[in-house]
Symmetry: C2
Subunit: 270 residues, 2 copies
Amino acid sequence: MSIRRLCPEMLISIWGRNEKSLDEIRAKGLADAVTIHPEEAVAGADLVLFSTPVDVMEGLAVSIAPHLENHAVITDAGSVKSTVVEKLTGVLGNRFVGAHPMAGSERSGLGAAKADLFSGAPCILTPLTTSDPLAVEIVTAFWSSLGSVISVMTPAQHDRMAARLSHLPHVLAYSLVNLAARTLPEGVSILSGGSYRDATRVALSNPGLWTGILMENRAEVAAAVHDMASGLSSIAAMLEKGDAQSLLDLLTQAKNHRDSMPAYLSRPST
Amino acid sequence: MSIRRLCPEMLISIWGRNEKSLDEIRAKGLADAVTIHPEEAVAGADLVLFSTPVDVMEGLAVSIAPHLENHAVITDAGSVKSTVVEKLTGVLGNRFVGAHPMAGSERSGLGAAKADLFSGAPCILTPLTTSDPLAVEIVTAFWSSLGSVISVMTPAQHDRMAARLSHLPHVLAYSLVNLAARTLPEGVSILSGGSYRDATRVALSNPGLWTGILMENRAEVAAAVHDMASGLSSIAAMLEKGDAQSLLDLLTQAKNHRDSMPAYLSRPST
């Protein structure tokens, strides 16, 4: 939808596994061609975008590689970069340039699509020193044309950051829901206020998709999860000791950091 | 604002520490009287509402007790009930009926006030078996008239629930912000997506207010925080072992629970 609206000159060919979803895409005029055969989708393509769970990208890359144009540039929208960039560069070569648009929500499917999804949202590119410079330029222009605000970093820097700013919040959301379900009477979550509701929104995300993301970035996510658990144990100790001053210091420090984030980040997503 | 709009026949007398805030309230016509003297505010009052940090309620109760009408009914809007109910019942007697309206946001002050704040929001009442039945009836009618959906439970049940559905999410929000600030390059949180933004919204809450809440409910909060830390350690172990199936099971279980919450709880707060 974003490409249709913002890059109306592009011809769009969409691959999907599900004929019914493809029919819906066709009916809405969102593609010039749809197919369940990946090699058909990439035939003649100048630019190929992987928008699938991260753990199936390598297999898909293997199946399309022989059918790509020589000049084809490839990018992706995966939430993990180190493993994805390594695998896809291995299969597709230096015209692959990894990307992670920090947009989207817990919802999935065509019903959750929004043409302005990328507008003003960060998009992190992770080119390698060996990446083809023209491919980097094309991929940068592509994501920019959708309204993304581009940042560039290494795959490792991305994964360290994403573990703490995205993957850990998802782990916390799923864990918090399970904790409440395990320890409280059934149905009591209807009495929750906004803090629980917002903290657990992303537990509505697709579990298979997120198992893939967490596993593909598991070293960084495990480190962040350990770090969080250890911070929580310190807080529990402050509570048990009645150490109000240390707790106040910790909360004040956090509020100061959060206050310094740009104001638009204070608004909940819609 | 809610009382003004929904109970226009009530005469409202407001106590506050700050003359400037009181002037603003007066200028907006939100009260019939304002004062910095608590004993003046309660003189002649049929109903008294404590809307202050939980850790200052007892002192305030002591200062107003001699000035209350014999028939005065007292309630509060505090986020903790066991200690508050015990202390305020001790000072004020059995016409005190504890309440926790599960509304509000990370914002504070008159600028954050909304007349429809309580509309459709849960309000938990925690009367004791020794509470005056007429007082319970009046407090129930009062919170209902503001649009609250009333639930009744014991102070202990409330505190166990609030620890997991409200206090723990706040602890997680503050901790997550500190973790990101400690481990990532400065300013990088601008690259976060919606999951971090929503998970940390309540870290914008007043640290002093929240230190008081967490300390007043510290046994239950410490238990919930320990439980969370232990759940996180299990997840870290799954990641380290590459145990995708256990992780998928855990995420699927959480999603099923979260899916079963009423749909309006899926919407972020505004």
